[in-house]
Amino acid sequence: MEPVKQKKSIPALLLPSAFWLGAWQLGAYWVDRHVDGHGNELLLPYPASVLSALLELLPTPAFWATVGTTLLRVAVGLAAGLLLGTVLAGVTCAWTWWDRLLSPAIRTVRATPVASFILLVLLWTGRNTVPAVISALMVLPVVWENLSRGIRSADPKLLELARAYRFPRWKTLGLIYLPSLRPYFLSALTTSVGLAWKSGVAAEAICWPRPGVGTQIYNTKLYLEIPELFAWTATVVALSLFLEWLLNLALSRWKGGGGHA
């Protein structure tokens, strides 16, 4: 039985945030007092400084263009990774030879450091393409592995029923495989959103496509604008959480459909 979701009270929602904000403020104060060069915020800026930097960025059209472009790159990469991972999971589970051929390659992709891929893809394609390709490459193995596990764990007794009851393939797919895959797909999706963001922005920070959140993060490092670095990072975190919330909202009907999966 699915656990009943309890609505959190306002203090329960605010207290953890307040605690971490307080810890940050204390940390910044401690650094300010004890590290050489009083008053500099190079190591850890105050929350107020970060908020001020963010408020300066927010009204500018350039900020929204940068965020929108990165969002588009990450979304394209995420969609491509989901699609490819799903197709490859289907192919490797359906045909042993494809599994023998492709599984080592996908596992290699998963184990390869993201920095190596970023530099390689930068050499092969234009800098504007790299973030989407990297996001897709990072998402693909996660989706492939989750869905492969889901396909292989489909109930053999239900699959035998489908054969005995002369179900065509599309019906077996729709009635048995897809509902069995639902939790595996949702788990892969949730992991993939964060992964696509992190790898996409990391690729931007190395390749400097313009505009790009990662490029802005790189620039803040270059000019030692640490409050801005925090402000851009906060933007990425907020966008990642927003995208995850949006996906959950879109999938809530699917999650709830039947309610017994």
């Binding site: 007794k157 239900l158 035998e160 054969r163 005995a164 019906k171 509902p179 039947g258 017994h260 999966a261």
Partner: protein, 193 residues
Amino acid sequence: MLKLEGLSFSYGERLVLQDFSLTLPLEGIAVLRGPSGCGKTTLLRLLAGLEHPQKGRITGLEGQTCAILFQEDRLLPWRTVEQHLTDVLPRPHREEARTWLELVELAGEETVYPSALSGGMGRRLALARCLALGGDFLLLDEPFAGVDPARAQRILARIRALGTPVLLTSHQAPVLDLADRVISLEGPPLRQL
């Protein structure tokens, strides 16, 4: 006429059928009776073509389609009662689905999911789905497990009225009463008494 000649079958080291032979007309209701684990289910699986005999042959079923009711309900947790029936019907007619539900006394439960059904109701739903699938003959493995005897007898009488030959396994006296022939078995390896 259904003929099983010299059938042998084993699951690994476990011998279930050894040189087993049986002849019976494909009409009416035939009941296979025997202790648990004697090989009745394996026999039904062989007749359904889900297993293949390692020796011997089955004749009399050529070109015929069967519908098998498995020993377990094998319901889909994400499909409603009605959807279980429309899924196997050539065209998903709700009226036709209702007819089968009425036959097994499950009408009114159309929108319910299997998790909300009792053991006996789940069994009747699995039976209704098998009947809705239909075929030239029916193979029913313990169709009335968990169903009360009076209801089992009513449902079996309705199945008989369909006119499709039925081969089923059961221990229940009311079911045996309605059978045209009862084949008593023991094993393993399976043999006719």
